[in-house]
Symmetry: D2
Subunit: 375 residues, 4 copies
């Protein structure tokens, strides 16, 4: 069983993430994780704070000895570089529309909106990316790859031209907005600059692809065992995400069945395969061996330089919302977080199906099952 | 804690659903549940089997005494009217694209596709609707209402004209396709007939609305406590659903932040409120008191009268997929199932926040919190 | 992941148990389960109701097709033979000491103690025995055996004379009190008759042994993953159990470390082994390959023919407790329930370690790990 | 929902514990936690390392702002004072009987026993005590107190003379072996010195008492909801614990029912009450308002100065087990850990029953239910 939890406030001392269930014997270094943390920072559209603060660095405080996992819970810590002992500041009392500010203040009966935004912050996702990196490392031992790219920003769509995951990774990693279409990239950059100028923000869509998966992850046997549902929860739980679709997703509402279901073929070397992938790799809540393809929409950043109308929680008077330094467009970053969440859920499903407490045991079980497929 | 599980095969003896965590003292009759089961059956676009078989009827086998819940697990049974002792039939070996058939056969190492489709069947959702009905009954004690309607079929969109949930319910319940727009209804019916004639199927979108919710359900404190993620999983777990969005959803990829975030207002009688609801009632993964609005897309039914290409799992020869009697378009029904899943998840969140083992205790806690809001 | 839940009231229509996570391909008949249900009934010391009613019979309503599991949830139903539609009876208002009666009435705010005792009843354990039988069948495929015997009743101890599990099973099954020591048996029977004459009840201790387990079930990595804790919860959850010990258990409080720790030996054919088993097969919360040995103490039955002092919940007047027909001593039966709970928890641990969705896949993984041990 | 997890190795950089579900608005300082950590250290019978190293100190890294909880996960860190970067040491290969060493090496396929003992170590319990301290603080807001004492060491029993929890606390805290009987104390100290002289170790029994609990925590409705089972798991999960009993526990095997069940009384000012407490505060798995009384037996420490026989995992030759500096008797400390585990589980049950996201909301719900009891 793979379990994962994070703790930590945006301006607290540090972020902490615990990941349990990674088999013993996986080579793991802080560098494996740092490279994912770096991918989470520094893209175009990020605000001043994100661009300027020193890069995040992880410390592995538990679960690894001499560069290898030992089967114990892995604990990762990311220090907040701008942390300092708590000051006595006047409370923030003007909730920002689009944030948890107002709902959080009421739920937890607090008086300072900082008590809410410190946790209900995208900063929290750094912990997820860190443990997601560990899962990715584990999955790479089974040749499973997870990539992502920006497929839309502010109405500008990137076109996908039948490229494989290596190509997608390469193009996205070398794009300032993590997209795979150089024409769209230019228009996206322009659009972001336009938003910045207006003190406004933008949203968009990112795509996550899990490649080279075994058939049979997830199950239709019980509602909460379906991999489609688990992936939907994982992506929807990313702050700002307001929609998730699998494969052809919402476009399926316009089509006939004969146009969308992926016909089944077989060849001696490939086994069963498809020529299309409208199902996005999931049929009946179970992986079918094709790439799992997920889109998620991220709303425009909720913290605006030109604030929206709000109400002071203390005085109940109409005011403008608090202005907190923030980003203009985080869709490129969201893709990286999406990869982490998908890696964690696929990792969970792989652990569930193949068992094993050491990487060696798990690998044997995995290969044994692959043998089945060829019979 | 509210937990729920179902069991049962499509042509097995019966379907069973267990729902745990409903407080003691809730009036509950089989009729409360049957009326939801009836809503799940008999809409336009359903195939022969669904239209003709006797209506589903629930038996409450546990958790209720003298018409009231007693705090013990509630067990609901729905007999399959066409069940008969198992026959010795030749195995089905030609997997249907779009179904779990192929992935299931490989995962569970079976030889007869019936072993898969018997559980990976929409029939399973009857159990969900039954326990969802119990949750709805509980939520109605807190004046929480959950409704749904068909918002799109085969590319035909229904227009929503600022109507309240009572109106939506009324219109949907009196429409053969459960939609709220009489013009769209005609076109949808026409489209379904067209599909039927071609031996084809259609998908679409349904909308679920949860009304009159308290602020503060769900939490941003941990990724898996967010109500948005929980609802996404619940809806995505419905067989055939390939996408879920909250509020303005995927349209947010085209907008500026200033256009989409719901500004905050206050009046002495209403407390905090919004004039728009692009967030769909959820900010930071927490209910903000506005209606929770969810869209889910359902793919066209995967069982086609004119079968798609497939491969025989035994001979590995190219064949046409099995033809199983099925529906043409199940979007209207999917809305009813969606209501059940949303009721179950909202019910879970309400239990979590307000605690209590009897309805009376729960209600006191609920009202006490409502008092908070007015301070 | 193996999960299990039961529902059903003592005099309700039927008991239901759902077991999820059993691999596909396990041969399973109702007879496999009925034979365990019979073992749960009819021992000496059981009261009139238990002795006279027709024997329990299970109906498998889900998860099995043509005599084999298919990977879907298994649902088992046991009808209550003396069920009839609800009568309008005066409420029971005099709680019995030792039962959940009083705490339950307050917790769930009920007025009739029947609303409590109908679920807080040993009858509920029939469902556990049924699903435990399925787990036992699965474990038998890995040559894992689970047996039990009565080790003490009313102060009379049975002596264990270094016998193997087959012998234990044989002796216990042919003893009216399920014990393995014929001398003690006589004294136990005498003691029970003495209690019966006095309108009194007796408790005792039962022992459960899990034999032929692989090394490595459970984990010290997190508090709730330890198999010792899981087994303790499982046994303590049996109605009436007030204590659980592993191996030498409470006697360890009197010994020096040098007297109790099981020294480690090795031989080419047996691998690592022990000559003693004070640890009861568990070190650091992990199975060490030796027999897991558990004792649990069951208090004397709480329903007495000569009732104890109580208070009427309505009038608050001092009264005598309700008299409900019941058993004199259920320790022999408790052992059978204990076997079921241990089978379920060991089954869960085996699923967790070896994964696999079909019995064949699971077995391969299991054997592969056994190979490890010989290196 | 209250959840808790720990991570960290014995000689790693630090121990981490995450506690989720504590309501907002609880005053909490590091001192609240440190005082419990100090109680875990420095009793008689602890070995050199434990006596000499600097005292444990907690750092609250998340979940608290300006001295109050905010509803977010609480993260606690305890640095290991003797940590240093990893050295290249020869592997430990001689497993110690009584420890997880051998089972762990096989389960996780490791070559150095340090990979096992670093986590399967009593050091891990420092994290549990830290989060247990937070739960205790929360419970103290409801006047719930949890205390413990040593009731037996090496066969020397402490006599309990009808004293209240304040007196128990006072006596135990001022005793070098945390017992409440000054005569037994002398004999226990003597016994420990005797064991030390022989290079041997001792075990014993500790008692944990939870006082002033509301009726109705836990439930008989499902096997895993019973509070008795949850507490049994929690205590059995403490390294070295081999048995748990509730109230009269194992002595019940020798008694008649009429002797053991706690008769029910009522008075206007006290409500329902008992004059005896053989049930140890739990009937039917539910708290009945009397003190919850739990005994747990701890085996003698497994690391002996005069090592036992073992087998080298590499050479398979007979050897003596590794000698690791350790304690002689940890029963006094185990009581403190037991308090923490009981606090966590009672805290979980209180959260479950009373809900609430702020301490104020929770308290109102709690008081409201107490009102019920007086009707």
């Amino acid at each position: 069983m793979l379990r994962y939890y994070t703790a930590g406030e945006s301006h607290g001392k540090e972020l902490t993430a615990i990941l349990e269930g990674i088999p013993a014997g996986l080579r793991l270094s802080e560098e494996d994780i740092n490279k994912e943390l770096i991918r989470r920072q520094g893209y175009f559209g990020r605000g001043e704070r994100m661009r300027n603060i020193e890069k995040d660095r992880v410390i592995i405080t538990a679960g690894v000895r001499h560069g290898e996992t030992i089967g114990s819970p892995i604990c990762l810590v990311i220090e907040n570089k701008d942390w300092h002992p708590e000051l006595s500041e006047p409370p923030l009392t003007r909730p920002r529309p689009g944030h948890a500010d107002l709902a959080g203040i009421i739920k937890y009966q607090r008086k300072d909106i900082r008590d809410i935004l410190e946790r209900a912050s995208a900063r929290e996702t750094a912990g997820r990316v860190a443990i997601g990196a560990v899962c990715k490392k584990m999955l790479s031992e089974f040749n499973i790859k997870i990539v992502s790219y920006t497929s839309e920003i502010g109405g500008i769509k990137a076109e996908w031209r039948n490229m494989n995951v290596e190509k997608i990774f390469l193009l996205a990693e070398t794009s300032p907005v993590r997209t795979i279409d150089r024409e769209a990239e230019k228009l996206m950059l322009k659009k972001i600059k336009e938003a910045e100028k207006k003190g406004d923000t933008l949203g968009g869509i990112f795509t996550v692809i899990a490649h080279n998966l075994p058939v049979g992850l997830g199950s239709y046997a019980q509602w909460d065992l379906r991999l489609d549902g688990q992936l939907a929860q994982a992506l929807m739980s990313i702050p700002g995400v307001k929609g998730v679709e699998i494969g052809a997703g919402f476009s399926l509402s316009k089509k006939f069945g004969s146009q969308v279901h992926d016909e089944i073929f077989y060849s001696a070397d490939r086994g069963f395969y498809r020529k299309t992938n409208n199902a996005g790799g999931l049929e009946g809540g179970v992986s079918n061996g094709e790439d799992i393809v997920l889109n998620a929409v991220m709303k425009p950043v909720s913290s605006l330089k030109r604030p929206l109308r709000s109400v002071d929680i203390k005085t109940k008077k109409a005011v403008l919302a608090e202005v907190v330094r923030a980003d203009i467009c985080v869709v490129p970053v969201a893709g990286v977080i999406g990869e982490a969440m998908v890696a964690l859920e696929i990792g969970k499903a792989v652990r569930e199906k193949f068992g094993g407490d050491s990487l060696e045991e798990m690998r044997k079980n995995f290969l044994e099952f692959r043998q089945f497929l060829l019979r």
